[in-house]
Symmetry: C2
Subunit: 357 residues, 2 copies
């Protein structure tokens, strides 16, 4: 080729990264214009916009989000704090929230609390410091203090999977009472007459209390022929489920329950494993089910019947509510309480009736 030996020299990697002022200089415009191209491209003429964009990519400019948020007074990101990422329900929540946020060109910052209220507090504080545009919170238990603090800084909060019981905050919840009811009714329909509910000993854990109430309603509805029994464990782990399993096995076959509901799948999974270890047949001697559709509860030797919570739906609805509240800062926003219905998921661990197999 006859072209002169002029070639694009690769930018020196050790050179200082380009800043907005460098872009402005390079494009021959003011910093304000570059900022507009970044934040309100429609307010800039097409020609200027393209010139600025060319400079941006040529210089490899990446805007400093910290400076941007500081100057704008608030970050564009949204914080999401969930109870525990090891519970797949909350991964679903994150997915749903993420997708909805992305459609609105917003980023979501994700944090899991590992079932630890103190860690939850740290996560909320962190997002508070980051001055997120909004906070989606799936709390372990009553978190009024944490919420008030964040809100006083002008950050809207939407609750997920927790009913604050007050009208001054949006929430998206699962009907946990109904979840318990579905579980109880299903076992009764499978012929169980001695129902055991494995819950926790901390009544402030709202979903646990509600699910128990639902199971009781199903039992009551059936009349006096069904017995109800509740065991309260200090935590909701697989280990606790196995512990209950040992106690149940130690009883005579006639006094054992014939249907067991773990308030979480994890708990139910631990129970099932212990049954297998003790040579007690699931579902024939004892039908077992979980109650939160945690796909992480894999290790059961039989597949676990459970109640699906539609986590993704929760995340989507919550994010939609939050985005609305952010857009309408206080005034035109009406706090809502959205209830998502749970659903029975049939699997092997309760399949006593031939037609269910």
């Amino acid at each position: 080729m006859g072209a002169k030996a002029v070639r694009t020299v690769p930018r020196d990697v050790t050179a200082a990264p380009a800043k907005l002022r460098d872009v402005a200089r390079h494009a021959g415009v003011s910093m304000g214009t570059v900022s507009h191209v970044l934040n309100h491209p429609d307010k800039v003429s097409a020609q200027t916009r393209e010139r600025v964009r060319a400079s941006i990519s040529e210089l490899g400019f990446v805007r400093d989000a910290n400076a941007s948020s500081l100057a704008a007074g608030r970050s564009r990101s949204i914080g999401l704090v969930v109870i525990d990422l090891a519970n797949s329900m909350f991964v679903d929540v994150a997915l749903g929230a993420q997708n909805t946020a992305r459609a609105a060109r917003r980023n979501v910052l994700l944090a899991g609390s590992q079932d630890d209220f103190e860690l939850q507090g740290e996560n909320v504080d962190f997002f508070d410091e980051a001055r997120v545009a909004g906070l989606l919170l799936a709390p372990l238990k009553d978190s009024a203090a944490q919420i008030r603090k964040v809100r006083s800084r002008g950050c809207p909060v939407v609750l997920i999977n927790y009913d604050a019981g007050s009208a001054d905050v949006c929430s998206v919840i699962v009907d946990n009472e109904q979840a318990g009811y579905l579980a109880g009714r299903h076992l009764i329909e499978q012929g169980c007459r001695r129902i055991m509910f494995i819950g926790g000993d901390d009544d402030s854990l709202q979903p646990v209390a509600h699910r128990r109430d639902g199971v009781k309603r199903a039992v009551r509805e059936h009349g006096s022929s069904v017995r109800f029994e509740e065991v309260r464990m200090p935590d909701l782990t697989e280990r606790s489920g196995a512990e209950v399993g040992r106690r149940v096995a130690a009883r005579g076959p006639d006094t054992r329950p014939d249907g067991v509901i773990g308030v979480t799948d994890t708990l139910a999974a631990g129970f099932v494993e212990e049954m297998v270890a003790q040579d007690i047949s699931v579902p024939h001697e004892i039908a077992v089910m979980g109650c939160d559709h945690n796909t992480a509860a894999i290790s059961t030797p039989v597949t676990l019947t459970t109640i699906a919570m539609h986590g993704q739906r929760l995340g989507e609805e919550g994010m939609t509510l939050l985005l609305d509240e952010i857009a309408n800062e206080g005034d035109r926003h009406l706090h809502q309480r959205i209830v998502v219905e749970p659903e029975l998921v049939l699997r092997g661990s309760t399949a006593r009736m031939p037609h269910v197999a």
Copy 2:
């Protein structure tokens, strides 16, 4: 009580949030001193420190992390981008990374890429804009361009579950070849002689290629009596696994494989479900196993033998390497490549030999 009616008036909630300058004024010190209390408490006398802390909590001051990061030139947070949070292996990675970071008083920002290379790019860009102190990246495939960009801004990167093959970056990887080998050897030991490997059609997915190589090594090692067959699917979903299942079922029993390895648990789970639907016994007619210990693969009617990847270990080691690189900015840091060995997890889907039951 004879005390005067002086009581602590609750701070007006509508008042402007306290800033560092307010704290300084309230405590009667300069802003620099407040900043020191926050960032280098040991450089301040105990008395001053406590006075400042009292003012901080009395005023409900929460430092603005954006301003802080801007002034300091870099955020204190660390970014973690994983391939997919729906794969529990990566939740484990996040857990491990989180715990290690927390011990070092660092926050980690978590993002999942949903198996989407474009989303991965967005996640990396986001952390780049946030000027994170370091980036832990579990990439889908070669991401040299993304990495170079971030690094040019002075942000150290450590790779997880991906072998960059170059000595200029730290990485923590699973020995995927060994994982494949363990899987292959296990099936052969279980008596399988016609092994099928279900993989993907994208050779740039490193773990897939390595696991296949490992399976082949096991087959080769056993001599010519074992047949090897590979199926390449466009994606690694449950649906693809079921599709392969249908094809296998359509063959005559004599030409079918008697041992199947899904390169992911998800793939294997889909295959198993299809076997059950087709009334082909797992493990007796066909033994099946997965290869990444994804606890999210719950829906299998028999529990799935798989290879554990020790995700938490990966996260911990990766974060440790990254923290070291951050602390020793370039000079005293030596790039390392840590290999974590995988491990066979026996379950029902390959239990053909009585002693394994």
